[in-house]
């Protein structure tokens, strides 16, 4: 019996197509991309060996520093926003709406399945100032404020990007964290209530520690997505005005396809990959330590 399920040839035949496609189109390019970092040039003009020039350039490149800073700022703000708003939503679903929450959950979840480009075009119009005021500026004017040219500078454009991405994904994180909160046994909550914990105290001391594992995976998932942000920024501001809202991903794209610098583009991509790895490992290690400190569950 072991013989058939241990058939190495069958295993190879079943595995081969997936492994072949995956290796040729993902693994090999990753290695080639690492190789590109010591070259300069592109597919059309050919490549030239430049040694560590790309890394030296990276260290002194103010634009790359700005992109790195934007990536980190965006990742921090949007990850915190997504997870905190999502967590508040999940608390609302579980403790506020209880079983009636399904309609609200369904509606608030929807934006995450909308095409990012469509959402970005919608937000461009919501926040527009000229030739006609969008909803946001009309509201500002209605409350006696001054309409803002949201896309006129990097700071206010960043605010719109952050609002948009939190708006898009809050329902998704709401459902993700809801799944974790529903698993908390009712009798644990009941006995905490009897011991006098209620409202904020109950959330702080009972609900948060018990939902920590799913909270941590949400943070890891969220930060991996936000560090790699491309679609929403590209569609909303294309990195502008200038390069003020350009994250590393758009810099990679610009250097490679606008300036034809594959080598430098790959160096920037490698920087991004390393940051993703470090951040994930860091959060993962940190959370493991927290979990052991609180005791096994």
């Amino acid at each position: 019996m072991k013989n058939i399920l241990g058939d190495r040839r069958a295993a190879f035949v079943l595995l081969a197509p997936a492994l072949l496609v995956y290796s040729v189109i993902m693994l090999v390019p990753v290695v080639v991309s690492l190789g590109y970092t010591v070259f300069e040039g592109n597919a059309i003009s050919g490549f030239e060996f430049v040694g560590v020039d790309n890394f030296v350039r990276l260290i002194g490149d103010a634009e790359a520093h700005q992109a790195l800073l934007f990536t980190l700022k965006y990742a921090l703000v949007v990850t915190v926003g997504q997870v905190v708003v999502g967590y508040l939503l999940s608390l609302l679903y579980v403790f506020g709406l209880k079983r009636a929450s399904s309609v609200v959950r369904t509606l608030v979840f929807f934006p995450i399945v909308m095409p990012t480009v469509a959402v970005a075009l919608l937000f461009q119009q919501l926040f527009s100032i000229a030739p006609t005021e969008g909803v946001v500026n009309s509201m500002l004017a209605g409350f006696g404020g001054v309409p803002v040219d949201w896309f006129g500078d990097g700071g206010s454009a960043f605010v719109v990007i952050a609002i948009m991405d939190i708006w898009r994904s809050m329902g998704f994180y709401g459902v993700l964290l809801y799944a974790g909160l529903v698993d908390i046994p009712e009798d644990v909550l009941e006995s905490a209530r009897i011991d006098g914990a209620s409202g904020w105290k109950l959330v702080r001391h009972i609900v948060v520690p018990l939902s920590l594992p799913v909270l941590i995976s949400s943070i890891i998932f969220s930060i991996n997505g936000t560090l790699k942000v491309f679609d929403s920024v590209m569609a909303l501001t294309s990195g502008g005005p200038g390069t003020s809202t350009s994250p590393l991903t758009i810099s990679v794209f610009d250097h490679a396809f606008t300036y034809g610098e594959y080598g430098y583009g790959s160096t920037l991509a490698m920087l991004l990959t390393i940051i993703c790895l470090i951040v994930t490992v860091f959060i993962f290690r940190g959370s493991q330590r927290d979990l052991t400190k609180d005791g096994p569950r």
Partner: protein, 304 residues
């Protein structure tokens, strides 16, 4: 459950529907008043999520003059589908829809077929080194797409695939593979080994077992993974912008992104109509499959 616990549960005021029969001390009106902030919060939430969509829908019927002269919350003065017709033609949404469909759907099919076969080989079959191969697939989940796009662009250029939809199809199939293999392997783990051992005793070959037992048993898993990846591929901008950015290759998202470029000045009505088409088509799919979509997308997150 011991005695103290059950008395505790009996004495607390009902917080779950089951225990509604326990007498409440608070009068009804006060309970309602206490719930007021909750309902205000829910109403605010619904407005924040719903109003932009309603505004988008209404905007798709307005004329250029209404956009420029009427306040932004005014209702459209007519309900004609002129904007939709204009949007469909000028943006070439028809051919964009075709391009998206002929790359995404075959990519989904091959990704699911190959990915499930690999997961079957890794999880059901027994051989040395399968753990390591699974890890190699898993590593792919972490890699940012930017890391593979430039070498792929060179490779597609050198093999003459640039200028067709092949690069898009191949890249989607491959980038979807890690998550597919991983999730399908998880689903296979839940099937008792006895199922396959019994089939072996009955004389079914491995391939027969894969096609006649494994795939039918994986129906739900295949549906979930397919749905998750459908949204990733359908809404993808990065890969399609890299490999399909010229006129007749444009996918739906690239066509939408270039929408404003097709006119001298922004034609608001058609723009809103084009966005509406994209949003409300997905809304229909979403409303039909909403439970599976919520479950699938979040499963992809927790495990990935």
């Amino acid at each position: 459950m011991n005695a103290t616990q059950s008395t505790r549960m009996l004495t607390t005021s009902g917080s779950r529907d089951k225990r509604m029969r326990v007498p409440r001390r608070r009068p009804r009106a006060r309970v309602r008043l206490r719930r007021l902030p909750l309902w205000i919060a829910v109403a605010a939430l619904l407005v924040i999520v719903g109003y932009p969509l309603v505004w988008l829908f209404l905007g798709s019927f307005k004329s250029q003059r209404e956009f420029l002269e009427e306040p932004t919350w005014a209702l459209p003065q007519q309900w004609s589908f002129e904007n939709y017709a204009t949007a469909w033609e000028t943006a070439g949404l028809g051919s964009a829809l075709f391009n998206s469909a002929v790359t995404v759907l075959p990519a989904l099919f091959f990704m699911l077929l190959f990915g499930t076969a690999a997961a079957f080989a890794l999880e059901v079959l027994v051989w040395k080194g399968r753990g390591a191969v699974l890890m190699i697939f898993l590593a792919g989940i972490m890699v940012p797409a930017q890391m593979i796009l430039l070498p792929l662009f060179s490779a597609y250029f050198q093999t003459g695939l640039t200028g067709s939809l092949w690069p898009l199809f191949l890249t989607y199939t491959a980038t979807g593979m890690p998550l597919t293999v991983f999730l399908m392997a998880t689903y296979f783990r839940a099937i008792p080994r006895e199922v396959f051992e019994a089939a072996t005793l009955d004389g079914a070959s491995i391939y027969r077992q894969f096609f006649s037992i494994a795939i039918p048993m994986m129906k739900n898993g295949l549906f979930t993974v397919g749905l998750v990846q459908f949204f990733f591929f359908w809404n993808d901008l990065l890969i399609s912008l890299t490999f399909a950015n010229s006129g007749n290759l444009r996918t739906l998202q690239v066509a939408l992104l270039n929408f404003n470029g097709n006119f001298g000045t922004t034609q608001y009505g058609p723009l809103f109509a084009a966005v509406s088409i994209n949003v409300f088509a997905l809304l229909i799919i979403y409303l039909v499959l909403n439970q599976s979509i919520q479950k699938g997308l979040t499963a992809g997150a927790v495990k990935g």
